[in-house]
């Protein structure tokens, strides 16, 4: 009687342990699905694109033949775009974060701004494109220009920068702030000389990640009219422009197979730029 009971219990325990082990394998396998996909993606892009990736590809403008097509206009366009996005989004984003963390009273308005920023972060990027189309392209009459694209993208990455900067500012220990006040420093002096330097690594890391999102973003720029083919480098804020993802999108959409390889080569350049930016972010995070 007792023996069968014990046998039953042991059986059940064995079953439970077995189930645990089986599912552990299943969980591990699921985790690898994402990783395998990532590896496959990188492998495919590399093997397809490497043949077209050479000096000419970097320095050529778009062309009607795959052998002559290059990403120069897109690369320069992306860099110029970031040149607009970065100062606008950083000043406004960090300013917002300082305001919310250091100046704002904890009242309904502050809460409203906070919730609003959270919701903005969840708005699909293409909706920002529509905002940019109405406001920058038509209402401010910028047309399909670099500045319209840059400002649209700045609004898009703003919530990400605000949240990152807020977290960085919040994590500055209160005692060094109090020490600064205790020495007679005013509020702004404390923020400028104590809080911001201490929060800088966090702010920079978040900002670089946000900017790398802006570099890879395509949809809103299609809406605000980034060109698919231009043959001169933009020489002013009101020039036509193109960016790397738009070029890649354009090449991907062409039916002949060679264009796929060109697109893959473009993706390699795009990913290298992103990799560089992320490496800088990681470096800053580890350094400070």
């Amino acid at each position: 009687m007792l023996d069968t009971n014990q046998n039953n219990i042991q059986k059940r325990i064995r079953g439970r342990v077995l189930l645990n082990n089986v599912l552990k394998v299943l969980f591990f396998t699921s985790t690898t699905v994402g990783l395998i996909f990532l590896a496959l993606l990188l492998y495919r892009v590399l093997t397809q694109g490497i043949g077209y990736l050479n000096g000419n590809f970097i320095s050529n403008f778009p062309a009607p033949y795959p052998e002559e097509a290059g990403i120069f206009a897109g690369l320069i366009g992306s860099i110029m775009l970031i040149g607009i996005v970065a100062p606008v989004a950083i000043v406004i984003g960090v300013g917002t974060a300082i305001f919310l963390e250091e100046y704002a009273y904890k009242n309904r308005w502050t809460k409203f701004i906070q919730v609003n920023i959270q919701n903005l972060a969840g708005v699909p990027s293409i909706v920002y494109g529509l905002l940019g189309l109405t406001f920058f392209v038509y209402m401010l009459r910028f047309g399909y220009t670099l500045i319209a694209g840059g400002l649209t993208m700045a609004l898009l990455v703003l919530p990400v920068i605000v949240v990152a900067a807020q977290e960085a500012i919040r994590s500055v220990p209160a005692d060094i702030k109090e020490a600064s006040y205790g020495m007679g420093a005013s509020k702004w002096q404390t923020i400028r000389r104590v809080v911001l330097p201490a929060a800088l690594p966090g702010i920079l890391t978040g900002t670089i990640l946000a900017l790398s999102r802006a570099i890879g973003e395509t949809a809103p720029l299609i809406i605000v009219g980034a060109a698919t083919a231009i043959y001169t480098i933009p020489d002013s804020l009101l020039s036509k422009y193109t960016v790397m993802p738009i070029q890649i999108f354009n090449w991907t959409g062409r039916p002949q197979e060679e264009w796929q390889f060109v697109a893959a080569a473009g993706i390699i350049v795009l990913l290298i730029v992103l990799l560089l930016m992320n490496a800088i972010a990681v470096f800053i995070r580890n350094k400070f």
């Binding site: 300013g95 909706v127 509020k187 999102r213």
Partner: protein
Amino acid sequence: MEKAFKDETIDLDVQALIDNKRKKKSISGKIEKLVPAFLLLCASVSVLTTAGILFTLLRESITFFSSTSIFDFYTGTQWSPWSGHFGVLPLITGTLLITLIAAIVAVPLGLMSAIFLSEYASNRARKIIKPTLEVLAGIPTVVYGFFALTFVTPLLKSFLPGLGVFNALSAGIVVGIMIIPMIASLSEDAMNSVPNNLREGALALGATKLEVAFKVVLPAAFSGIMASIVLAISRAIGETMIVVIAAGASPALTFDPTRSIQTLTAFIVQGATGDTTFGSTIYYSIYAVGATLFIFTLLMNMLSQYISRKFREEY
């Protein structure tokens, strides 16, 4: 005489110092007052952005609905704007189909990854795997689109010969893979914040790790997990480039994943890139579609925030 002279210089110095100090103080006093005003201006940009989005979508949609009835728009089953049929249902079902396929792929895989990372993986393994998985989230969506079109579709075609070049299945799967890191990472954060003594209590009672995960950690982290899933689904609804590249541009009232479809987002791209002129009906229809998309994602985001507020377990 000498003494007086000395006094004078000291007097002069002090006066200058005082003046200097006053001047500095008045400047820094002004800065102290100006800075918060400037920062408030910065903070108002985000509020203005929201107002701008609402205003644009609303204004252009209202113009659109003055020529097309809002009832026909939301109940119409034919979307062919260039021949004057504005029934948005095919775009909505297209979006839902993509979202559904993405959720079927991403929810189980994401949750199981999260459980593995939080309950089974060693600290070292987690430190390597989690950031690698998050790389997936940093890859531009146009790259995913390229991959869906040139790799996933041909691959699926070898199993499903009837699959079109553009189809919902391939796009949906890739959107799903794109949102895996979102679910995995956020859910893992939620599970990680469940205090260890709950786990240890269950383990001490003889539970296996699996039982701890399903009967202790998952219920305790429920709100965070649900919020992450809803947020990821909202991302899938708003995803544009993968769908534009891999799912084609043929609006169809169908749930057949092997066919080409069009989503709300994909139409906005098509409508904005074609030779659409400012002020035409198609131009305004982009905004009506955009407003519909915005409402969908806003509801999902609010649901996510509501879940994480309402069902949060505090320890």
